[in-house]
């Protein structure tokens, strides 16, 4: 099924500075608000945002209604309800869920909101930005008083680093998570998997012998790798790479290099989209 769009797609996006995300349509705005409901408040509806609705989304009536709500002291929940009703982005029952979530959000701590923001950024394919959000969350936490919650965030940082191919940093964070929650075997397996990716086969063997890593744990890591390999084989770029290798087998080096370059460019662009440089600047 398809859904009718409301308003126009903007030529100049509205930038949500905190998240570094540009919004081009009313539906994207609703999606962002729904996914980050715990992090937002009435201040989100700035004059610039309202002006964007009028000028770029061509929704002057919506802008008028929201301005009216703000002028007469309406709440964030009132604003969200008006926006979602106009855009019809969610059903009535979903809107009810959102409004209940809003009432819960008032009771959430700062670190929880930052963690949720980090999770959202991961879902959007922005692991570097997610790490920064997670780190801010940890900065405000006492790991002795909240070991589980802190471990969860360290684990998420580990996942973010892994998606950036920074397996050494990934392993450090998984190790930290495990140290805070030694009863959570998943953190241990994640740490070993990151180590496996970071070290050479020989070095990993030396490590596991030295640390007397249990066979069951090693088997679980290998099972993870097997599943990962199958998932990679299904990827379009992996199929493209295998086709390119066939060209090399046939002796057509020029065609192989041409295809390989295309694949490399795609990978580079995908990686750059994860803002690796950002994480390095902030780390150092």
């Amino acid at each position: 099924m398809v859904y009718r769009c409301v308003g126009q797609r903007a030529s100049v996006p509205y930038l949500i500075k905190d998240a570094g995300i540009g919004i081009y349509s009313a539906e994207e705005l609703c999606y962002y608000i729904r996914e980050n409901i715990f992090m937002l408040d009435r201040d989100f509806f700035t004059d610039d945002l309202l002006s964007f609705m009028r000028k770029e989304l061509i929704l002057p009536e919506l802008e008028d209604k929201l301005s009216h709500i703000i002028q007469y002291g309406g709440s964030f929940s009132d604003l969200v309800e008006e926006l979602f009703n106009t855009v019809s982005f969610v059903s009535r029952s979903e809107l009810g869920t959102i409004q209940r979530a809003l009432s819960v959000s008032d009771k959430l701590g700062a670190y929880e909101k930052l963690r949720i923001k980090g999770d959202f950024l991961m879902k959007c394919g922005r692991p570097a930005a997610a790490v920064l959000s997670y780190r801010k969350a940890i900065d405000g936490m006492d790991e002795k008083k909240m070991p589980r919650e802190t471990a969860r965030i360290y684990h998420n940082i580990g996942v973010a680093f892994a998606s950036l191919f920074l397996f050494d940093l990934s392993a450090c964070n998984f190790e930290k998570a495990f140290s805070l929650c030694p009863d959570t075997e998943d953190y241990r397996i994640a740490f070993l998997a990151a180590k496996r990716l970071f070290l050479s086969d020989k070095d990993f063997k030396s490590y596991t012998d030295r640390e007397a890593v249990a066979k069951a744990e090693l088997d679980e890591v290998e099972a993870l790798f097997g599943a990962g390999k199958k998932a990679v084989e299904k990827r379009k770029d992996e199929r493209a790479y295998r086709s390119a290798l066939k060209l090399l087998d046939k002796g057509d080096k020029e065609a192989f290099f041409k295809e390989a370059e295309k694949i490399l460019i795609d990978w580079k662009n995908e990686y750059r989209g994860s803002s690796a440089k950002e994480i390095w600047d902030k780390k150092t």
């Binding site: 099924m1 398809v2 009718r4 769009c5 349509s25 999606y31 962002y32 019809s88 059903s91 959007c124």
Partner: protein, 411 residues
């Protein structure tokens, strides 16, 4: 002072081209004539390049230059454009020349251009569009009409008493004798207008035949075509009617309806079509024109709007397939399916075609914006191109495009 702009109709016939135009302030359609004293509408579709200085000339100027330079013109520029890119560029230059002929419209913005051709297909439309583009001619709307459709626009742009009970057009030259009968059914709203076409090889060739015998044959045909019911208008066009030989038939036709003769009906019809494009005439709002090239089905897609399912209209029946195209942007549900609905205009039959976008990226519900492009590849093959636009910065576009073809059933 009101800004001046113009709409144009260009007829591309076998013997040459004609250009008709209508300025916004005047609303009268005029056809460019080489001479003020008599109607010389036809401009040869020819080009000539001077071998010494490479200067190009077109139309009658090309013929004169070729004679002077003892060379030959390149004839039938449309055929040349169908065969090569050089031909396309030359045709584009010819159009540029054509647009500069009527002095009244020089320097005026052209808001719409309609080409009329005997037969229209996708290939010729693409060639004409490329030719216009290659010459740097910038016109926001370009359309195409067949001679049948051009006749419709011409006839229904006249006063109602000239078409209310139907109109007949006789076209006659050495290669054809064709009759088009236009009927208006005003019981429906909008009114349906149909054009029946028939050829009569018995009248060919025109040259060298006994004219009295031809007149008798013509009379027989005219009696059959006009029937006994009311008729509003008759038009005669083509080189065969430039001399008077059909006196008997003419007498009969004049007793049945108002009779008109002219050689610029199609270019004027194209220009009337252009006035409709810019909404001066609003013919297409009041009439649905149906011929063999018309869509017989309304095309829409099922969509949810404000929580309710509705039919989002894409194309209405009555459009000529070669002019029919549309774009829609919608949000994809998690099922990644688009349902195209085809409704016959003459009946209640509804056909649902489900397009599955299984290769498109998995994203949350309503977090994929897609661009749908609808157009016709052939008269009964609807092409739907679905392009993934992503969801802004939240989910970047994958760039994927899926193309589906739907064969329309007879409506």
């Amino acid at each position: 002072m009101e800004e001046k702009w113009v709409v144009i109709g260009i007829d591309l016939g076998e013997r040459g081209a004609q250009i008709s135009y209508c300025l916004n302030g005047e609303r009268e359609v005029k056809t460019y004539s080489l001479s003020r004293e008599e109607d010389q509408f036809l401009i040869p579709l020819e080009a000539y390049q001077n071998p010494e200085n490479k200067a190009k000339s077109f139309g009658f100027e090309a013929q004169a230059a070729a004679e002077k330079g003892k060379g030959e013109t390149e004839k039938d520029l449309l055929k040349g454009a169908m065969e090569s890119e050089d031909g396309v560029r030359l045709l584009g230059l010819y159009f540029s020349y054509l647009l500069h002929l009527p002095k009244e419209i020089l320097g005026t913005e052209v808001r719409a251009l309609v080409f009329s051709l005997r037969e229209v297909d996708q290939r010729v439309c693409q060639v004409l569009e490329r030719a216009v583009e290659s010459a740097g001619i910038q016109i926001p709307v370009i359309r195409y009409v067949s001679y049948g459709e051009s006749f419709f626009f011409y006839a229904l742009s006249q006063k109602i008493e000239l078409w209310r009970y139907g109109v007949v057009l006789f076209e006659y030259d050495d290669s054809r004798f064709e009759v088009r009968r236009l009927t208006v059914d005003q019981h429906l709203e909008p009114a349906f207008v149909t054009v029946e076409e028939k050829s009569y090889p018995i009248m060919l060739p025109f040259t060298g035949q006994d004219k009295e015998k031809l007149d008798r044959s013509f009379l027989s045909i005219a009696e059959g075509v006009t029937g006994t019911g009311a008729l509003s208008g008759v038009y005669l066009t083509g080189s065969a009617f430039e001399e008077r030989w059909e006196n008997g038939t003419l007498k009969f036709l004049c007793s049945r309806a108002r009779v008109f003769q002219g050689q610029n009906l199609y270019s004027k019809g194209a220009c009337y079509a252009a006035t409709d494009v810019v909404s001066w005439s609003r013919l297409s709002g009041k009439f649905v024109f149906l011929d063999k090239n018309s869509l017989r089905q309304n095309i829409s897609i099922r969509a949810i709007s404000k929580g309710k399912e509705e039919l989002l209209s894409v194309m209405d029946a009555g459009l000529s397939w070669y002019n029919a195209s549309a774009e829609k942007e919608v949000l994809l549900g998690q099922d990644k399916e688009i349902v195209v609905v085809l409704n016959g205009m003459m009946d209640e039959n509804e056909r649902n075609v489900v397009l599955r976008l299984s290769r498109f990226p998995d994203r949350p519900d309503r977090a994929s914006r897609v661009l749908l492009r609808f157009y016709f590849e052939e008269r009964d093959i609807l092409v739907v191109e679905i392009q993934d636009l992503g969801f802004g910065d939240l989910f970047p576009s994958s760039g994927m495009v899926q193309t589906e073809r739907i064969r329309l059933q007879e409506g």
